[in-house]
Symmetry: C2
Subunit: 282 residues, 2 copies
């Protein structure tokens, strides 16, 4: 499928991410239909001209060529189970979910053969919720990852590349579901677990006046959506557990150097982290 | 002692922090003498008018009223042991060291009775080294902590409050050496250990293109001065070990919730961290 000006989009779930999608698509001139269970959300989207039509009724998107689920992972699977039959034969279905192996497996098991699901992960999450916080400008320097599965066609992959460009993403890359989930387990999920645990590890209230940049940097993401993240953690449990274990082993190794007053050993660790981190600045 | 326009300052060690001190003091109109073993550093300070006189010879500051050591902790103690006798009777000695209990104990044990040492911690460190990176603007919103010991006089404390104002610090607070070292063990040392261990916990090179804000925030301080920090860690070993243990226990508690798929338990942890972190935004 090639995206053209006649392509009709359907977006399910007009939260902060879905809202940004419909805004980017409609301002690029495409016809966009929106599904949401919240009447106020639909009203905001319609009044601002971000969607051509909106409804709580899934049948609204029965004629859409590309359908994008912006629901939380379990809600997405539940939606496909309940309403998957309304999707047009031959349409392309995609998503925004932050973990991929389980989503691809479960959605494909539920979906009719004549609908192609291609998983995508726009790396532009934020902690605020709801369409009022939507902002397609957030896509500008962000990474759009296409996660092709065995059954995906070249056409579907290039349609997603087109979609990423229309949405305004900075870079578009491809990863297998395995590699994607492994990478997310380390770069995103482990970092959020660390921030949460650091924030919870002691009574910090009286320390606020002394906290400098380092503590603030490490705990910024400790303000976290408690409805979304545990779902994502559980869907990536194997990788996240192994990342927690590798990090804990590294902390224990550092602890042993401190305990035995091995100053040279600690210096070696600091030189290593400095060298590795500098590669991220290029 | 009251700081007046006649007060003569001596600064030992014109690195990034000492350089910022002499620049702030000289631009406020004070006479400032600088001691450094590096001839190029002295030349830069003199050519720019940041010091009135500079030398590698400690006797230059024999007439100074307030002497500020901007040396690394062990170098500071070594300096006092070797050159402490050149300090003027009745002068006030202060420092910039990041941990306090051991410094206060060791310096007071070495110092003549008629010289008062009052410990201070300007919380404005940075990872670049050398006078070329000095910049008194970095003090603008930073916290200056005075750490009075039993023997310190009210005069010395108020002189340090004056000094902090002259240097341009945002806030001035007081803490006991115990409370200071405990706070630093958590807010600063533990966060640096976490960043170093996260950066070292797996081969990250190929991940650089996927790293988003969260990973970058958590590892910014993994670029770290390997000569300074291990010294500071060792001088605060008891507190830092107990902070590492408390954090590790919290990570293990989160790991157990994930392992047993206790979604509600994880949500509770996320709500807790969100609530605590929000208090830091006030």
């Amino acid at each position: 499928m090639n995206i053209s000006k006649d392509t009709v989009f359907g977006v399910i779930g007009l939260g902060v991410l879905g809202g940004s999608y419909v805004r980017a698509l409609s301002s690029a001139g495409y016809t966009v239909k929106g599904i949401d269970i919240n009447a106020e959300t639909l009203a905001i989207a319609e009044e601002n001209g971000w969607i051509s039509e909106g409804s709580a009724d899934p049948r609204l998107i029965a004629d859409c060529d590309i359908v994008i689920s912006c629901l939380y992972p379990h809600a997405f699977i539940q939606w496909i189970r309940t309403y998957g039959h309304v999707l047009k034969k031959g349409c392309l279905l995609t998503d925004v979910t932050g973990v991929k192996r389980m989503i691809i497996e479960q959605v494909n098991a539920l979906l009719d053969e004549d609908i192609e699901f291609i998983a995508c992960h726009p790396m532009a999450g934020r902690e605020f919720r709801g369409i009022r916080y939507s902002d397609p400008e957030r896509f500008r320097n962000a990474n759009f990852i296409i996660v092709p599965a065995e059954k995906n066609t070249g056409d579907a992959i290039s349609a997603m590349e087109q979609l990423a460009k229309i949405l305004g993403f900075g870079t578009v890359t491809r990863l297998s579901a395995e590699k994607h989930d492994e990478m997310i387990g380390f770069l995103s999920q482990l970092t959020h677990v660390i921030a949460v645990c650091l924030m919870n590890s002691r009574d910090t209230e009286y320390l606020a006046e002394y906290s400098g940049d380092s503590f603030r940097d490490l705990t910024r993401i400790a303000v976290i959506n408690e409805d979304l993240w545990p779902e994502l953690f559980l869907m990536n449990k194997d990788y996240l557990l192994s990342e927690i274990d590798a990090f804990t082993a590294e902390m224990q190794s550092f602890r042993a150097l401190l305990e035995t007053e091995d100053e040279e050993g600690m210096k070696e660790k600091l030189r290593g982290s400095t060298r590795r981190r500098r590669m991220f600045e290029k």
